[in-house]
Symmetry: C2
Subunit: 150 residues, 2 copies
Protein backbone atom coordinates (compact mmCIF):
# COMPACT_ATOMS: atom_id res chain seq x y z
CA UNK A 1 0.00 0.00 0.00
CA UNK A 2 1.06 3.59 -0.34
CA UNK A 3 -0.13 6.97 0.73
CA UNK A 4 -2.73 7.08 -2.02
CA UNK A 5 -4.62 4.54 0.07
CA UNK A 6 -4.93 6.98 2.96
CA UNK A 7 -8.25 8.63 3.73
CA UNK A 8 -8.18 12.38 4.39
CA UNK A 9 -6.98 12.88 7.97
CA UNK A 10 -5.04 9.63 8.13
CA UNK A 11 -1.34 9.84 8.99
CA UNK A 12 1.43 7.31 8.31
CA UNK A 13 4.89 7.41 9.88
CA UNK A 14 8.13 5.89 8.61
CA UNK A 15 8.50 2.46 10.22
CA UNK A 16 11.52 1.73 12.41
CA UNK A 17 14.53 0.19 10.72
CA UNK A 18 14.63 -3.50 11.38
CA UNK A 19 12.74 -5.57 13.89
CA UNK A 20 13.20 -6.53 17.53
CA UNK A 21 11.65 -9.99 17.89
CA UNK A 22 10.17 -12.73 15.75
CA UNK A 23 7.11 -14.91 15.73
CA UNK A 24 6.25 -18.48 14.86
CA UNK A 25 2.92 -19.07 13.18
CA UNK A 26 1.69 -22.06 15.21
CA UNK A 27 -1.40 -22.89 13.18
CA UNK A 28 -4.08 -21.48 10.94
CA UNK A 29 -7.62 -20.25 11.60
CA UNK A 30 -10.42 -21.47 9.34
CA UNK A 31 -13.52 -19.30 9.09
CA UNK A 32 -16.34 -18.84 6.56
CA UNK A 33 -15.03 -15.39 5.58
CA UNK A 34 -12.70 -15.15 2.59
CA UNK A 35 -12.16 -11.41 2.58
CA UNK A 36 -12.00 -8.75 5.21
CA UNK A 37 -15.20 -7.08 4.02
CA UNK A 38 -17.08 -10.35 4.61
CA UNK A 39 -16.07 -10.57 8.28
CA UNK A 40 -18.49 -9.63 11.03
CA UNK A 41 -17.55 -6.45 12.86
CA UNK A 42 -17.19 -8.40 16.05
CA UNK A 43 -17.21 -12.10 16.78
CA UNK A 44 -20.26 -13.48 18.55
CA UNK A 45 -20.88 -16.64 20.53
CA UNK A 46 -23.97 -16.97 18.32
CA UNK A 47 -21.77 -16.99 15.24
CA UNK A 48 -20.72 -20.00 13.18
CA UNK A 49 -18.31 -22.65 14.40
CA UNK A 50 -14.79 -21.86 13.28
CA UNK A 51 -11.76 -24.16 13.30
CA UNK A 52 -8.30 -23.59 14.64
CA UNK A 53 -5.82 -26.01 13.08
CA UNK A 54 -2.79 -26.23 15.34
CA UNK A 55 0.60 -27.32 14.00
CA UNK A 56 1.07 -30.89 15.35
CA UNK A 57 4.41 -29.83 16.83
CA UNK A 58 2.50 -28.07 19.61
CA UNK A 59 -0.29 -30.59 20.20
CA UNK A 60 0.78 -31.56 23.72
CA UNK A 61 0.43 -27.93 24.73
CA UNK A 62 -3.37 -28.34 24.51
CA UNK A 63 -3.37 -30.69 27.48
CA UNK A 64 -5.66 -29.43 30.22
CA UNK A 65 -7.69 -26.99 28.14
CA UNK A 66 -11.26 -27.41 29.32
CA UNK A 67 -14.31 -27.92 27.11
CA UNK A 68 -16.32 -25.79 27.13
CA UNK A 69 -14.27 -22.85 28.27
CA UNK A 70 -13.39 -19.34 27.24
CA UNK A 71 -10.05 -19.10 25.50
CA UNK A 72 -8.09 -16.05 24.42
CA UNK A 73 -6.84 -16.39 20.84
CA UNK A 74 -3.98 -14.26 19.57
CA UNK A 75 -3.54 -14.11 15.82
CA UNK A 76 -1.61 -12.20 13.19
CA UNK A 77 -3.51 -9.84 10.91
CA UNK A 78 -1.22 -10.55 7.99
CA UNK A 79 -2.94 -8.26 5.49
CA UNK A 80 -2.64 -5.09 7.56
CA UNK A 81 -0.36 -2.16 6.97
CA UNK A 82 1.57 -1.17 10.09
CA UNK A 83 2.53 2.46 9.65
CA UNK A 84 -0.65 4.43 10.42
CA UNK A 85 -0.83 6.48 13.63
CA UNK A 86 -4.12 8.24 12.80
CA UNK A 87 -6.98 6.41 11.12
CA UNK A 88 -10.43 7.47 9.97
CA UNK A 89 -12.89 4.64 10.61
CA UNK A 90 -15.61 4.66 7.94
CA UNK A 91 -18.21 4.69 10.68
CA UNK A 92 -16.81 7.83 12.29
CA UNK A 93 -15.48 10.21 9.70
CA UNK A 94 -12.85 11.75 11.97
CA UNK A 95 -9.33 10.62 12.80
CA UNK A 96 -8.52 8.56 15.88
CA UNK A 97 -5.19 7.23 17.06
CA UNK A 98 -4.43 3.61 16.21
CA UNK A 99 -4.13 2.80 19.92
CA UNK A 100 -7.65 4.17 20.48
CA UNK A 101 -9.03 1.66 17.97
CA UNK A 102 -9.10 -2.11 17.72
CA UNK A 103 -8.49 -1.82 13.97
CA UNK A 104 -6.15 -4.39 12.36
CA UNK A 105 -3.92 -1.50 11.25
CA UNK A 106 -1.28 -0.98 13.98
CA UNK A 107 2.49 -1.24 14.45
CA UNK A 108 2.24 -4.89 15.45
CA UNK A 109 -0.93 -6.33 13.92
CA UNK A 110 -1.69 -8.79 16.71
CA UNK A 111 -5.38 -9.42 17.35
CA UNK A 112 -6.84 -10.72 20.58
CA UNK A 113 -10.26 -12.37 20.74
CA UNK A 114 -11.91 -14.30 23.53
CA UNK A 115 -13.83 -17.25 22.09
CA UNK A 116 -15.85 -20.18 23.35
CA UNK A 117 -13.91 -23.43 22.93
CA UNK A 118 -16.48 -26.13 22.18
CA UNK A 119 -14.36 -29.05 21.01
CA UNK A 120 -10.90 -30.47 20.42
CA UNK A 121 -10.14 -33.37 18.07
CA UNK A 122 -6.44 -34.02 17.66
CA UNK A 123 -4.93 -30.72 16.57
CA UNK A 124 -8.25 -29.15 15.53
CA UNK A 125 -10.13 -26.88 17.91
CA UNK A 126 -13.71 -25.83 17.30
CA UNK A 127 -14.52 -22.36 18.60
CA UNK A 128 -17.26 -19.74 18.40
CA UNK A 129 -16.78 -16.01 18.45
CA UNK A 130 -14.07 -15.32 15.89
CA UNK A 131 -14.35 -12.58 13.28
CA UNK A 132 -11.16 -12.95 11.21
CA UNK A 133 -10.65 -14.03 7.62
CA UNK A 134 -10.04 -17.61 6.58
CA UNK A 135 -6.35 -18.50 6.62
CA UNK A 136 -5.36 -16.13 9.44
CA UNK A 137 -2.13 -17.25 11.15
CA UNK A 138 -2.43 -18.34 14.80
CA UNK A 139 0.00 -16.99 17.41
CA UNK A 140 -1.23 -18.18 20.80
CA UNK A 141 -3.99 -19.73 22.88
CA UNK A 142 -4.50 -18.96 26.56
CA UNK A 143 -7.25 -19.70 29.05
CA UNK A 144 -9.19 -16.47 29.62
CA UNK A 145 -8.43 -16.84 33.32
CA UNK A 146 -6.08 -19.20 35.02
CA UNK A 147 -2.69 -19.80 36.48
CA UNK A 148 -0.45 -16.95 35.53
CA UNK A 149 2.90 -17.90 36.97
CA UNK A 150 4.71 -21.04 37.96
CA UNK B 1 18.41 -22.57 29.00
CA UNK B 2 18.65 -26.28 28.42
CA UNK B 3 16.83 -29.39 29.43
CA UNK B 4 18.50 -29.46 32.83
CA UNK B 5 16.18 -26.55 33.67
CA UNK B 6 13.11 -28.71 33.14
CA UNK B 7 11.09 -29.92 36.10
CA UNK B 8 10.07 -33.59 36.08
CA UNK B 9 7.08 -33.94 33.74
CA UNK B 10 7.95 -30.92 31.63
CA UNK B 11 8.39 -31.48 27.89
CA UNK B 12 10.24 -29.33 25.35
CA UNK B 13 9.95 -29.69 21.58
CA UNK B 14 12.41 -28.63 18.87
CA UNK B 15 11.42 -25.16 17.72
CA UNK B 16 10.47 -24.61 14.07
CA UNK B 17 13.26 -23.55 11.73
CA UNK B 18 13.07 -19.84 11.12
CA UNK B 19 10.32 -17.39 11.85
CA UNK B 20 7.19 -16.20 10.06
CA UNK B 21 6.71 -12.57 11.11
CA UNK B 22 8.52 -9.86 13.04
CA UNK B 23 7.73 -7.35 15.74
CA UNK B 24 8.65 -3.79 16.55
CA UNK B 25 9.14 -2.96 20.20
CA UNK B 26 7.17 0.29 20.41
CA UNK B 27 8.10 1.30 23.94
CA UNK B 28 9.11 0.04 27.33
CA UNK B 29 7.18 -0.74 30.51
CA UNK B 30 8.45 0.60 33.83
CA UNK B 31 7.40 -1.23 36.99
CA UNK B 32 8.75 -1.57 40.54
CA UNK B 33 9.72 -5.21 39.94
CA UNK B 34 13.27 -5.93 38.81
CA UNK B 35 13.05 -9.70 38.60
CA UNK B 36 10.34 -12.15 37.74
CA UNK B 37 10.20 -13.54 41.26
CA UNK B 38 9.35 -10.05 42.55
CA UNK B 39 6.29 -9.65 40.31
CA UNK B 40 2.79 -10.12 41.68
CA UNK B 41 1.08 -13.23 40.40
CA UNK B 42 -1.57 -11.10 38.79
CA UNK B 43 -1.86 -7.37 38.28
CA UNK B 44 -4.39 -5.53 40.39
CA UNK B 45 -6.09 -2.17 40.04
CA UNK B 46 -5.04 -1.67 43.68
CA UNK B 47 -1.41 -2.13 42.70
CA UNK B 48 1.20 0.57 42.20
CA UNK B 49 1.18 3.03 39.33
CA UNK B 50 3.35 1.78 36.49
CA UNK B 51 4.59 3.73 33.47
CA UNK B 52 4.47 2.88 29.81
CA UNK B 53 7.05 4.89 27.86
CA UNK B 54 5.99 4.93 24.23
CA UNK B 55 8.51 5.53 21.44
CA UNK B 56 7.80 9.12 20.25
CA UNK B 57 7.45 7.81 16.71
CA UNK B 58 4.01 6.49 17.65
CA UNK B 59 2.79 9.35 19.85
CA UNK B 60 -0.04 10.47 17.55
CA UNK B 61 -1.51 6.98 17.81
CA UNK B 62 -2.54 7.80 21.40
CA UNK B 63 -5.06 10.37 20.19
CA UNK B 64 -8.54 9.58 21.45
CA UNK B 65 -7.56 7.23 24.27
CA UNK B 66 -9.82 8.12 27.17
CA UNK B 67 -8.76 8.80 30.76
CA UNK B 68 -9.68 6.92 32.79
CA UNK B 69 -10.39 3.87 30.69
CA UNK B 70 -9.51 0.21 30.51
CA UNK B 71 -6.77 -0.52 28.01
CA UNK B 72 -5.43 -3.85 26.79
CA UNK B 73 -1.63 -3.93 26.86
CA UNK B 74 0.31 -6.47 24.78
CA UNK B 75 3.94 -6.95 25.70
CA UNK B 76 6.83 -9.27 24.98
CA UNK B 77 8.05 -11.58 27.73
CA UNK B 78 11.62 -11.36 26.56
CA UNK B 79 13.12 -13.63 29.21
CA UNK B 80 10.95 -16.65 28.46
CA UNK B 81 11.96 -19.85 26.75
CA UNK B 82 9.58 -20.80 23.94
CA UNK B 83 9.92 -24.54 23.46
CA UNK B 84 7.90 -26.08 26.31
CA UNK B 85 4.63 -27.83 25.54
CA UNK B 86 4.08 -29.27 29.03
CA UNK B 87 4.86 -27.27 32.15
CA UNK B 88 4.65 -28.03 35.85
CA UNK B 89 3.52 -24.91 37.70
CA UNK B 90 5.08 -24.85 41.17
CA UNK B 91 1.63 -24.37 42.66
CA UNK B 92 0.25 -27.52 41.02
CA UNK B 93 2.87 -30.23 40.86
CA UNK B 94 1.48 -31.85 37.73
CA UNK B 95 2.03 -31.04 34.07
CA UNK B 96 -0.34 -28.87 32.09
CA UNK B 97 -0.16 -27.81 28.46
CA UNK B 98 1.30 -24.39 27.77
CA UNK B 99 -1.98 -23.32 26.12
CA UNK B 100 -3.85 -24.25 29.32
CA UNK B 101 -1.68 -21.81 31.29
CA UNK B 102 -1.06 -18.08 31.16
CA UNK B 103 2.61 -18.73 31.92
CA UNK B 104 5.20 -16.58 30.11
CA UNK B 105 6.67 -19.76 28.64
CA UNK B 106 4.96 -20.35 25.26
CA UNK B 107 5.83 -20.50 21.56
CA UNK B 108 5.22 -16.76 21.14
CA UNK B 109 5.73 -15.10 24.54
CA UNK B 110 3.14 -12.36 24.07
CA UNK B 111 1.35 -11.28 27.24
CA UNK B 112 -2.01 -9.56 27.39
CA UNK B 113 -3.14 -7.53 30.39
CA UNK B 114 -6.09 -5.23 30.81
CA UNK B 115 -5.08 -2.21 32.87
CA UNK B 116 -6.60 1.03 34.10
CA UNK B 117 -5.21 3.99 32.18
CA UNK B 118 -5.08 6.89 34.63
CA UNK B 119 -2.94 9.47 32.84
CA UNK B 120 -1.06 10.43 29.69
CA UNK B 121 1.72 13.04 29.58
CA UNK B 122 3.45 13.25 26.23
CA UNK B 123 4.61 9.72 25.45
CA UNK B 124 4.27 8.46 29.03
CA UNK B 125 1.16 6.60 30.14
CA UNK B 126 0.40 5.91 33.78
CA UNK B 127 -1.48 2.66 34.35
CA UNK B 128 -2.53 0.35 37.17
CA UNK B 129 -2.82 -3.40 36.99
CA UNK B 130 0.41 -4.57 35.41
CA UNK B 131 2.46 -7.46 36.80
CA UNK B 132 5.52 -7.61 34.51
CA UNK B 133 9.16 -6.88 35.21
CA UNK B 134 10.73 -3.48 34.73
CA UNK B 135 12.05 -3.01 31.21
CA UNK B 136 9.50 -5.24 29.47
CA UNK B 137 9.12 -4.35 25.78
CA UNK B 138 5.74 -2.97 24.69
CA UNK B 139 3.97 -4.37 21.62
CA UNK B 140 0.52 -2.79 21.48
CA UNK B 141 -2.18 -0.79 23.23
CA UNK B 142 -5.87 -1.20 22.46
CA UNK B 143 -9.05 0.02 24.11
CA UNK B 144 -10.61 -2.92 25.96
CA UNK B 145 -13.76 -2.37 23.94
CA UNK B 146 -14.31 -0.18 20.95
CA UNK B 147 -14.45 0.13 17.24
CA UNK B 148 -13.11 -3.02 15.68
CA UNK B 149 -13.20 -2.33 11.98
CA UNK B 150 -13.15 0.67 9.70
Amino acid sequence: MNDSDLRPGEVAVPPPQGFDASLHFIGVIRTPWQQRRDCPRRGSADGPDCRIELDPRWQQALQGLEIPSRVQVLYWMHQSRRDLVLQVPASRGQPLGSFALRSPVRPNPIASSVVELVGIAGCTLTVRGLDCIDGTPLLDLKPEHGLAKG
